[in-house]
Each structure stands twice: as structure tokens, then as C-alpha cells.
Amino acid sequence: MKRILQTLTLVLGVGYAQAQIYLAKECEISFFSKTAVRNIEGVNKTAKPILSTQNGEIAVKISVQGFKFPDPLMQEHFNENYMETDKIPNASFKGKVNEKIDYTKDGENKVTVTGKMNIHGVEKEVTLTGTLTVKGGAIILDTKFMVHLADYNIKIPAIVTADLATDIEVKLNSTLELFKK
């Protein structure tokens, strides 16, 4: 019975979803920390943002260990000491586009997205600004925002305060396509 139920919801759900769900074909999330002493940069290409054109909902889940650094030592410290990815492997965002967008019409739209950001296990309500471009059936998301580390309980030990910025710039660029299963 449970199986039938599951199948039913799945069939219904997928049928329901197919018409207006967009899923990332490619996505690049990067962050940048800049201080007088050093610049630290990490890039993650494993995430897949998802968007529903019906209600403008956007969600993205990131495997934090997927961030790659030019310096492997920094990558290890990032995972082990700051993001504690063994305990908290993922970060996520789930929000809603505030503006009404005509997804059938090509063009660049300036948008704001309000929702819940979850980093390092701490959830915060945020509003992000960026562009949502509709182009030949694809949707391109582009945003840049600042993350204040202390807001997410990410502690910086005194000895590295000169090396690590207290606010980190995060960029996301992703191309989404109509999701077919």
C-alpha cells in the first residue's frame, strides 16, 4: 500500500513538476576573502539550483566540501576548522523571487530573492539581489552578496584575523534548463 502511495505521489508530483521546474545545467559558486595580507578564493561547481516558474521559488543545496581552492592546505583548513564539513556537509538557500517575471519572454530582469540561507548549520532570513535572464528557453541566474561569518557562527581564531576577512563575497552564476526526467 505504501508503495502504491509512493508511486502515486511520485507520478503526480513529477507530472505536476515537469511543466515549470527549471534545473541547473551548470552552476558556479565562488567566494572571495580579501585582506591586506592575502586573498582566498574557493570555487564550487557541484551545486544545482532549481527554480519553479509558477511561484518563483528558488532552491540550492551545496556540498561544502565541493569548494576547490588553489591552495590545498587552505582547502583542508576550510573544511576542518571553519565549515566543519564532516559534521555539517551542506549549505542551502531556499527563497522566492519577489518580482513578477514573464518567463516566456527573453530579457534581463533585475530581481530580489528573499528566503532562508543555511550556512554552517545556522539559518538566516536574507534578501539577495541579482539578475534573472530569460534567454532562448534557458534561465540564467546571477548574484553577488556578502556573508558575514559571525552571523553563521564561523569563528576566526586570533592568529588568522589578518588572513581571513570577516565578510566574504559570494557569487553565483548558473544556467537553468527546463527539467525533464
Binding site: 500500500m1 502511495l5 502515486l8 505521489t9 503526480l12 508530483g13 505536476y16 513538476a17 521546474i21 534545473l23 557541484t46 551545486a47 544545482k48 532549481i50 527554480l51 519553479s52 521559488e57 528558488i58 532552491a59 540550492v60 543545496k61 556540498s63 566540501q65 565541493g66 588553489p70 591552495d71 590545498p72 592546505l73 583542508e76 583548513h77 573544511n79 576542518e80 576548522n81 566543519e84 564539513t85 564532516d86 559534521k87 556537509p89 542551502s92 531556499k94 581564531p157 592568529i159 588568522v160 527539467f179 526526467k181
Partner: protein, 308 residues
Amino acid sequence: MKKLFFLAFTSLATISFAQDDLLSMLDSVQKPTSNKVFATFKTTKVINAQSTETVKKNCLDFHIFHRFGNIGQESGGGFHSLYGWDNISDVRISFDYGLTDNMTVGFARSKQNELLDFTFKWRFLEQTTNESVPITLCLYENMAITPMTFTSLYAGTTENSDAFSDRLSYVNQLIIARKFSSRLSIELLPTYFHRNFVKGLTNPDNGATQDNDIFAIGFAARYKLTKRSAIIVDYFHEVSQYMTGNSQITYYDPIAVGWEVETGGHVFHLDLTNASGLNENNFLTGTTDTWKKGGFKLGFNISRLFVF
């Protein structure tokens, strides 16, 4: 009743799906990433034992190892050597380079037996966070050459021809490690050690002669105390008739305990060990000091990683 329940359940499921979040939909399309377990140990060596850590691709790990003299009076230490501070048991300097993230080649020089050794380490299996791979496996090989003088190499033997091959010894090791939690990592090191040349000494108590081949089993562990410091231990037991119950030369199992501190690019180890040698070729068959008689020494390992 059952039907009603079914109906209620179905409608509930539909409702919950209608407002269902995209995040759980993502879970069904985004494959759960199987992350590799990292930082099982902090450097390529635990104390005396090799760890499963390798040097990352294109990075150079420069390591300085130092062992002072025995601390206890009974074993040659005591006040007049400032508890071993004035003596040097062994010094080893090594350079290890990461060919890939899992393959390291190295070169080192040790004071004891003037050993020059070439090392190769290959981590061919990595533990994953989803437990599909529960352990990390690593192969460690070294070949050591001793350039010591003819007289000291053959001292006490009737040997009168110098063969280069007599100067070589090899360590073959399989390292099996598991990181049990973010704090605790443990590894086992089945080891096969081969020396091309031994002096052929005999154990007067059981008649066994010195072996060219020795099997040993090692054990090492690391327990993190804080984010940047840990307690480390390692231990080896050699399987050798000649080394067992030998009243002429008493052999002991090398044991080491240490404290590890990480400071960004450096990793420091402060150790206490009864082994005087710093690499397997020396300490497996050359540990003749015992903790009981104060035959342990202070030592340190410093690792500095250079990123290119």
C-alpha cells in the same frame, strides 16, 4: 477504518507535496555526493610511523625530525647531559613531493647509519563519509642506502669485499586507517622489512640467527583535543626469533607518544619515544632502549608545506 486512514494519509501526502519545497525535490535529482574523509592524520608521519596522509599535488613537504638522547640516568641521560638534551640520537631531514593528491615521492637523509632513503607512498583507497568505503589504504615503500665506511659496515664480521647491494634495505608497508570520528583516527601497519646484509649474529639464548627479513605490525592513533592540537601515539612489534629474549643485545618494541600542534602552514610534534632511529630501517631492528630504565628521549617533528 483502514480505508479512512488511507484516504487521510493520501490527502495529507498530496498537501504536503503541493507545498513541497524544491529542496527535497533537489535531493531526488542531485546525487548525494560521497565525500572523501580528509585529515585522518595531519602530516605524512604519525610520530615514527608513516600515516596515510600524502602530500597534495605539486606541493613540497619539508620535514625535520630530531631525537635527543635518553632522558634517564640509567640509559646515559641524567643531569650531566641535561636529560638527553646534549645528545643526538637521530636527525632526519626529508623532502616529499606530491605527484598527484594520492601519490608522493620523497628523499631523506638520516644521521643514524647515514641513511639516504627514497620513498614512495600511494594512497589507493580513501574512506568516504557515506561509509561506502570504510577505510583508507595506503602503500608505503622505501629503499635506503647506507654510505657508511667499509670498516663500520662490516665491523665484527670477516667480510672483506664491499658489495654495493649490502648497503641496501627495503621497507614495504600496507597502511590501513580509519577515521572513527572527527577526533579519533586509528591505523594498522603490517610491515615487511628486508635487509640485504646482516652480520649474522646469533641469539645466545635460543640459537636463532639475525634475519634478513622481518615482519612487523604497527599501530598508530591520533586523538584531537582541540581544533588544532592532538595526542598521537604509535607502536611497532617485530616478529623475530633473534630479537626475542636476547640477553646479549636486548631489543624492545618502539613506542612513541606525542603532542601535535598545527599552526597554519606548519605542524609541530613534540614526542617521547624509546626508539632512537627515525625511519623504519633504523628503528625496527635497532630499538635497544627501554622506557623502564629511562631509555626514552625527547624529540620533535616539524613539517612545513610549500605550495607551488
